[in-house]
């Protein structure tokens, strides 16, 4: 809606009070309808995904994995908002093992080590990829981290280098 002024005034002519009032009333009506639009925008914006909340990556390999371990530096803490959903993504280039029949379980856990997602990768020729989980954790400070666990008898390595980064990413995906 565009603002239009109903009356124009001319030099040497008496101004009619009703016309003056009508002009001001038009401005008031227009401005107040715009204010309602602004309020709608506020609530619409609040519904949208907010995107990246945290991201860290590593470019160094981590070996000697024979039990469940944290993947070094792949931990994130952020402030979650009530009712909103968050996607946590972990990515590793490849897990390899000294024993070809081993599997590596690649997990996302909370800060206390409680698992919230897991993916298994066969180590024979080396495998990696994505694990991800969508959570609604409630308001407050939240920590998520990546862990790896050998399933088998060998020694597992999480492989990474400068052009094969491994990472954890947290995104706000909306309400």
């Amino acid at each position: 809606m565009a603002l239009t002024i109903p009356n124009r005034f001319f030099p040497g002519t008496l101004v009619d009070a009703d016309q003056m009032n009508a002009n001001f009333d038009s401005v008031v009506a227009y401005a107040n309808s715009s204010l309602e639009t602004v309020a709608t925008h506020n609530s619409d914006i609040a519904l949208l995904p907010k995107g990246k909340m945290g991201y860290v990556q590593v470019t160094a390999s981590q070996g000697s994995i024979t039990t469940v371990v944290d993947l070094t530096s792949l931990t994130l803490t952020f402030t979650a908002l009530a009712s909103r959903y968050y996607r946590v993504t972990g990515f590793v280039f490849a897990f390899t093992s000294t024993v070809s029949t081993d599997r590596c379980d690649f997990s996302i856990t909370d800060g206390a080590g409680t698992r919230v997602q897991r993916g298994g990768f066969m180590c024979a020729a080396g495998s990696g990829g994505v694990v991800q989980v969508v959570l609604q954790p409630g308001a407050g400070s939240k920590t998520y981290k990546l862990r790896a666990e050998r399933v088998g008898t060998g020694t597992i390595t999480m492989n990474s280098d400068a052009t094969s980064p491994c990472f954890i990413l947290i995104e706000d995906v909306g309400l």
């Binding site: 991201y55 990829g129 990472f167």
Partner: protein, 181 residues
Amino acid sequence: MALTITNKFSFNTVTDADKVNTDFADIATYLNASIDTGTTHNSDVALLPKGRMAYKQATVFQGGIDTEVDVDGLSITFTALANRYYRITGFTTLVAESVVGIRVDLKITDGSNTQLARVGMDCGTAGAGVGVEATVQLITQPGAGSKTYKLRALRAGAAGTLALNDADSAPGFILAEDIGL
């Protein structure tokens, strides 16, 4: 905040200029506050993720891979903005054509074939139908300007050949998303 006007004018009464000025001041105060709110909205919206920047998919079988090659058709170019983060995702299905023990390294590279990320995936049993899938992701803050990313595949592990088993019902793809600041 709602706009209200202080003074009304009456028929056949000499209008006090100060009252007219006050009414215009009411309007100016209101509009200036509203414009400030609009500016805040603009910056709030600018913080949000913009989503898909570019996407291409492949539905054609690509076999005989025994060295590093471009994945046919999976190259994208978009204009990146300063300071923003982008997620590049590559996905394909794979099958070992000849021997057991083949691994694919599915790579994200820039337009000059410089590797930026890769994922390894054991292709499993040779000739085993659909085989396996590989997903590679890169989170990057590349700076402003035109950026090209593409998928490349390298046969690793055992000697032999592998195939990208993309089809109409199993498309491979590359996707670039703006994920915010």
